[in-house]
Amino acid sequence: MNRVVIEADNLSRNFDKIKAVDGVHLTVNAGDIYALIGPNGAGKTTFIKILTGLLAPSKGIAWICGQDIAKNPLEAKRHFGYVSDNPVVYDYLTGYEFLNLTGAIRGMKEKEIKRRIEELVQIFPLKEVMLQKMGSYSRGNRQKTAFLASMISKPELLIIDEPIAGLDPTSITIFGQTLARYARDGGTVFLATHILSFGQDFATRVGAMNKGRLVKETEVTGENLNEIYKETVNSK
């Protein structure tokens, strides 16, 4: 099962003179948990925003499940759930309302939404929190709620920018295990993170970025992410 889920071909994005993403070629197969690592300003977030259609590339093409995100954004967006690195959404809605809303926007049936939410709120102990307006959420609870929302329609692909920044240690483990289960069931995960130990424990593949370029790409098993990270930072 080597179905290609994400394909980036010479993807580039400039901001004035800054090459935030510079000629990145990258392929992610179904069932992978792909971790993007690299120092601050390496271009991880910019790359993810191009993948999700929030930013237009200066050059190159990105396909999500075979759909060109720039040309067929709607078809491409049906295939993935996304969580931003700053997961602020609707302060005036409760967590439950937010999940319901996402389900409705994604075109799900009422019964299906209800069933799915029942499943999702089991993942983290959030039942009380979900009744409160999101404006009062802590950073970690915001992150968790946004993550649950990205899973609501059981998309084939999850794209998550800095998923565990702000999560407590217990939640990080739960989160990793959830991703692993999701990938075992055929889902694909693409995430950017600074927590190398998390990548080491849960990712299957890793890509290292520096100054907009994809410096190294490899399987995680048998590699030491700390070493890879050091090499990346020292690359010119």
């Binding site: 925003k49 999700t52 259609g53 929030l54 930013l55 237009a56 954004p73 709607l74 078809e75 967006k77 049906r78 996304y82 931003s84 700053n86 602020v88 959404v89 609707y90 302060d91 005036y92 809605l93 409760t94 439950y96 309302e97 319901n100 809303l101 996402t102 389900g103 409705a104 926007i105 994604r106 075109g107 799900m108 009422e110 939404i113 209800k114 009744l131 409160q132 307006k133 404006g135 009062s136």
Partner: protein, 544 residues
């Protein structure tokens, strides 16, 4: 000195950054804005030229009437200018500019920052005042004075600059006064502020148009002067008259009086701002840091919104409705504006039409009522409908990462916009039965204003979605007063004026009933079509 350079650099960069994205459409908007202002200026030039010329031929009292018009114009400009300066300055305190909060953490002399802000606002005020006053002053001077001399231009420049300083100082002092007293209840303050401002406007109206004004048209010259000299606006102690008289007379006393008055007020204002600027910002920012009560709290399932029962577009609209309902400030503001319109028309309906009042005067009242409603409707829409898209705010990334087409998004905003405007549309249909003197035209006014208002709703929704100001999405009043909001105001006002011109033409028997309805509708249709085309170009390319 170098700190001024830093501050001016910051502002210049912000200005350039605004043009960095969607450059073409923003440049178009920018030039469109300038074109409309210039057009307004030209319109004032020609219409005042026409009025003054016809007054000039009215041998006896022509110049006196023109002087009266100048005094009234300057008084209104000052009142409106002080009002808008108060709002701008209060907004600076309450909405808080992120840059200023950062500057608060630095060891910076408050007087420098205050001088910078004051200098900036005076420049902007001067430009705006020039647009309104230059044409008026030039036509007056060339018709009643010695023609277009350098002396006239210098006097005009002096008057405009004094007015800029005067309105800025007055408004700033009012804002400091308000901010020092009411720090917590921003919405209460806004509502009170608007009420006071309306009261002042009404008082000014009564000052300019006192009861015995109409009698002046029906009497001979011997009776004229006693009445004219006793008109309340002709009181020698009204400071704005000194400024107006700088243009209409050659006496040096007025120049001295005006300059001394302006400079004195300005100095008091500078002292007041320098002493209060930081303390006010500090005390307000301390309160802003505490979490808002409306954004916390538990909601049980039975009282929650059930988005799962709706289609995608309806759910989206419902989400925005939730945002309005759950922010009492928002819905309160909407209700307040609606009540204000009702109140205004109630007062208006009490205007008694006396036997001696001319037919012409009542005709003007009809047009005034129609245009007045349009003005109120536009204010409501600019505040409640225009910011709807921008209100996605920092959460906007979410919508744009979901599989919703731009058209569906716009559709949901339209749905919500008409829902929010429902009270207004109802008023547009019914309010004409309140003032009795609108009697012969009620059907036309109702249909006309219903169509116009309906189109205005769509215009505001579209203009708000063309280049939404997500960064300021959390404070709708800042969205409304941003440059795009001003552009929307200009476009919609132009459309409204056309519609009001139709009513005027119908009353004067030059347009037929059908034409009055079809012409503005066709123009509105063209505007909407253009906006849709621009929308499809811009929002589709929105970048995060």
């Amino acid at each position: 000195m170098s700190i001024f350079k830093v501050l001016s650099d910051t502002d210049r960069k912000a200005f350039k950054a605004w043009f960095a994205t969607q450059t073409l459409s923003k440049i178009l908007v920018f030039f469109g804005f300038i074109a409309v202002l210039l057009g307004l200026s030209l319109f004032l030039f020609y219409s005042s030229g026409w009025i003054f010329t016809s007054l000039y031929h009215l041998k006896n009292f022509g110049q006196l009437t023109a002087n009266y018009i100048m005094r009234a114009a300057i008084l209104f400009i000052v009142i409106l200018g002080i009002g808008s300066s108060t709002a701008t300055c209060a907004n600076l305190f309450f909405a808080g500019n992120k840059n200023y909060f950062y500057l608060l953490t630095l060891p910076l002399d408050p007087r420098i920052l205050v001088r910078w802000i004051v200098a900036k606002t005076i420049v902007v005020n001067t430009i705006m005042l020039t647009i309104f006053l230059l044409p008026l002053g030039l036509t007056y001077g060339s018709i009643f004075g010695q023609g277009l001399t350098g002396f006239l231009v210098i006097k005009l420049g002096l008057v405009i600059l004094s007015l800029a300083v005067l309105t800025n100082s007055g408004g700033g002092m009012a804002a400091v006064f308000i901010a020092k007293r009411i720090k917590r209840h921003k919405s209460v303050m806004t509502i009170l502020g608007v009420i006071v401002f309306m009261a002042i406007l009404v008082a000014t109206f009564r000052l300019v148009f006192p009861g015995n004004l109409t009698r002046l048209t029906q009497i001979d010259s011997r009776q004229f002067f006693p009445i004219y000299n006793n008109l309340p606006l002709n009181n020698r102690f009204i400071p704005t008259n000194w400024l107006a008289d700088m243009l209409t007379t050659t006496s040096a006393t007025n120049v001295v009086l005006s300059l001394v008055f302006t400079a004195g007020l300005f100095l008091v204002y500078l002292r007041m701002m320098a002493g209060n600027f930081y303390p006010i910002l500090l005390s307000i920012s301390a309160k802003a840091a505490a979490p808002q009560a409306t954004l916390s709290g538990t909601i049980q399932t039975n009282t929650a919104f059930h988005f799962e029962k709706y289609s995608a577009a309806d759910a989206l609209a419902l989400k925005d409705l939730a945002a309005i309902i759950r922010a009492p400030g928002e819905s309160g503001y909407g209700i307040f504006l609606i009540l204000l319109i009702g109140f205004f028309f109630y007062l208006f309906s009490r205007v008694s039409i006396q036997a001696e009042t001319t037919r012409e005067w009542t005709n003007w009242l009809v047009v005034f009522a129609y245009a007045g409603f349009g003005f109120f409707a536009n204010t409501y829409l600019l505040r409640m409908v225009f910011p709807l898209t921008a209100k996605e705010s920092t959460g906007a990334w979410y919508i744009f990462s979901l599989p919703i087409s731009k058209n569906k998004l716009l559709g949901s905003k339209m749905l919500l916009a008409y829902l929010v405007s429902l009270p207004l549309l109802l008023m547009a249909l019914l309010i004409w039965w309140l003032p009795p003197f609108l009697n012969p035209y009620q059907n036309l006014l109702a249909i006309g204003s219903f169509i116009t208002t309906g189109m205005l709703v769509a215009m505001h929704t579209l203009m708000g979605a063309i280049s939404p100001n997500f960064a300021d999405g959390d404070s709708p009043e800042r969205v409304s007063t941003s440059s795009m909001g001003m552009a929307a105001l200009v476009v919609t006002t132009a459309f409204e004026l056309l519609s009001a011109y139709g009513i005027y033409s119908y009353i004067n028997h030059s347009w037929s009933f059908e034409r009055v309805l079809i012409m503005p509708a066709a123009a509105g249709g063209c505007i909407l079509l253009t906006l849709v085309l621009i929308f499809r170009q811009t929002l589709g390319k929105y970048q995060f």
